[in-house]
Amino acid sequence: MRPTVKILAAFLITTLLSGCIVLGKNKQFQPFDSTELDKLVPGRTRAAEVTEIFGAPSEVVELANGNAYVYKRTVTKGTVCWLVLVTFGNAEKQHDQLVFFFDLNDTLTHYGISLDADKAKYGFPG
């Protein structure tokens, strides 16, 4: 390979690969503790007891047969990579969520839990 071609190739590669990368994380925190769920007894626990244990809900939703209290926290992880010709951006938002269902007398009937916030990850668009 001629020296000029080598220089040109090296120049082209360094130019095309020059860039930067940014990693970011956002967290919407709510300090509920899912291990406290053991204290709840559907059919007996009242809405007031739930708020005493878990604090104020993120959202209260009126249902046809009662109410639902929603507790939510989210984690978002973002990756941006700038190259000369191409830019890659990726963001993933996952959440932990607790939903309590109450009947019309404010007694807990059911609850559901999803803990997915740890699944948020950095990466490139696939």
Partner: protein, 147 residues
């Protein structure tokens, strides 16, 4: 003479790469919200499955609401894809010359995988529906005439 040409070529390349870097850029962006929606179809039976069973199978819903006399649970994952191509000078020349050139085109597509469960007043599954938006390919869906 030969060495002067080489030096000039090198200088031209440096100047060109300085001014033209970012001249044509292609951006690929992806945004995901929510975990994958997996439907245990064989374990979600209309008229049989209770709210408690659905919650233990699928976890907490992403949204809850009221639909008439029924309670609605929605499990959802949103996927956003954006492609953008931009042609233009990265360094604004308007202070030097009065002409400027900048053009870009982009396409953004948000697709949803959504499972909706409707429960009656006895909190038994009355109706369910699932839409898998992520199955639709990016370019074909974006440029399709369907809304």
């Amino acid at each position: 003479m030969d060495s002067r040409v080489k030096i000039l070529t090198m200088l031209s390349l440096i100047v060109a790469s300085f001014f033209l870097s970012g001249c044509i850029t292609y951006q690929i962006a992806r945004y995901v919200e929510g975990d994958e929606v997996i439907i245990p179809n064989d374990r979600l039976e209309v008229g049989k499955t209770t709210l408690g069973e659905a919650l233990s199978l699928l976890g907490a819903p992403d949204r809850v609401g009221k639909a008439g006399m029924e309670d609605l649970l929605v499990y959802e994952r949103a996927l956003l894809y954006r492609n953008r191509i931009k042609v233009g000078l990265p360094i604004p020349l308007s202070s030097v010359i009065r002409t400027s050139f900048d053009a870009s085109a982009y396409g953004t597509l948000v697709r949803y995988d959504s499972l909706a469960l409707f429960f009656n007043s006895d909190r038994v599954l009355k109706h369910k529906t699932f839409q898998q938006g992520s199955n639709h390919p990016y370019f074909k869906t974006l440029f399709s005439s369907h809304q």
